[in-house]
Amino acid sequence: MAYTKPNAPPVAVVGVGNTRYGLMPEYDAYDLGVIALKQALDEAQLPIESIDGLILSRVPDYQRFAEMCGINPAYTLTTPGHGRFSGICVQTAVAVLQAGLAKTIALVYGNNGKSEGQRYGGDTDSYGSGGAGFWFPYGMTSPGAFHALMMQSHKHQYGTTAEQLAEIPMAFRHHASLNPQAVMRQPFDLETYLNSRYICDPLRLLDYCLINDGGVALILTTEDRAKDLPQKPVYVRSMAQRSSFTDSTFPPEDFWRGPMQSASQETFSRLDVKQADMDALMVYDNFSPTVLFSLEGFGYCNVGEGGSFIEGGRLKLDGQFPTNTSGGHLSESYMQGWALQLEAVRQLRGSCGDRQVANARNIHYMAAAPVITSIVYGDQP
């Protein structure tokens, strides 16, 4: 009943694929993207010729990628390898399909950052507004430090504790223990968390995502075509995007709450379900605190109460809101939101094995960053 655009054809994910995640120096970003795309085409039983829209992220050159695949799509777009772009790409694919610019779109992500020795701190750090080089003389570098500053503010304003924050990485690691694809699968307890070394206090090693090589692909098409394909369609039921660029060299004073609230309101205004009806959540988890900020911003709990909200295993598989059931960026692999889109699709197909959420029908993907994205996936349009 709810469409992303009124009277526009619903859009569904009809194929997904991914490489394993880890250190794979034998592949570059193109190779990783191709492996994932072929898997997605295989399970959708679509020939490569059917792809008439190509949206890439982190794969350096769209022309080379299309040449490799031997395709001449009607629509082409390439986007930077920033995690916020996974949600943006899915949303753009929906808009392009609904506008009739393409019929079947492949979204392909290829990341060989681990093999390349990509670092998110130090001289090559490009995080932030125009890059962080201006602050290097002060030793200020890394997205982790930016989030550490935010977490310090949250602790100061609301009394959030390390013990509360620990609930996030502990829950995700538990989920990863049930996911054969996850890179880190050994569960840990609070004591282990508290004893893990600080990288940038108040954030510890276990609050940081895991940089790995990997590729992810999704194929999206409209409902009429999706119904003829072998996989159970997973629909993009509603979506919204906001941004927070002004003054974004520095942490947002509201933890991005304003734009998140606005995106969440728009997302749910088009649906017959609310936050409480979500069967699972996929929350962009570059660092543990981002999950805390997202739950507050997208309206899953009251402002400042994220810490107490997540206590008692609420984010675990058997809790009220199973979150990042794959292990997420903190334990499965840092695939910059792309693997979280896949997890939403697989949960709604019911193909997640030991970590399956029973009767999953609606799942909310959300990302808190200077670009805020919100997508509700469902098993029905």
Binding site: R119, G121, G122, D123, D125, G133, F134, W135, F136, P137, Y138, G139, M140, T141, S142, A145, A148, L149, M150, Q152, S153, H156, R197, Y198, I199, C200, D201, P202, L203, T246, D247, T249, F250, P251
Partner: protein
């Protein structure tokens, strides 16, 4: 000339930011102010983000502000910081509204408190570069 043994990263002094660095060398804090709406912006840019005016001048301001947040690095992202860890990066909001990242000048306070008043200090690190740092207001008297 850089101070002997000073190996930490130095800023790139771009044309936009040159007046700021020249000011710090003279222990004054100059910020770019919009002529049209009189608001400050930082880092410097060719237009005002509030009114899009291209007219600006450099105004001397007080280095007084408050501590907005801080984080303590236990990892050295440059070898030159390995002798400094753990060290704190502080986020300061100047009374004129501009935000900055910086460090404590000399020793950091035992218990930094978000919201505490801070004052500017000037740390000479090379002939071309003086860094803007801060100390708690109480201790600076």
């Amino acid at each position: 000339m850089t101070l002997p043994n000073y190996t930490k990263p130095l800023p790139e002094i771009t044309p936009h930011m040159a007046p700021y660095w020249h000011g710090l060398q003279m222990h004054t804090l100059l910020l770019q102010m919009c002529v049209s709406c009189t608001r400050f912006r930082f880092p410097a840019a060719s237009i005002c983000p509030h009114c899009l005016s291209s007219e600006s001048h450099w105004q001397q301001v007080s280095g007084d502000g408050v501590l907005s947040s801080y984080a303590t690095f236990h990892k050295a992202y440059w070898p030159s910081f390995s002798g400094s860890i753990p060290y704190s990066v502080i986020q300061v909001q100047l009374d004129v509204g501009v935000k900055l990242y910086s460090n404590w000048y000399a020793d950091q306070p035992k218990e930094p408190l978000i919201g505490m008043s801070v004052v500017a200090q000037y740390e000479h690190v090379s002939d071309a570069v003086t860094l803007l740092k801060f100390s708690p207001r109480e201790q600076s008297k």
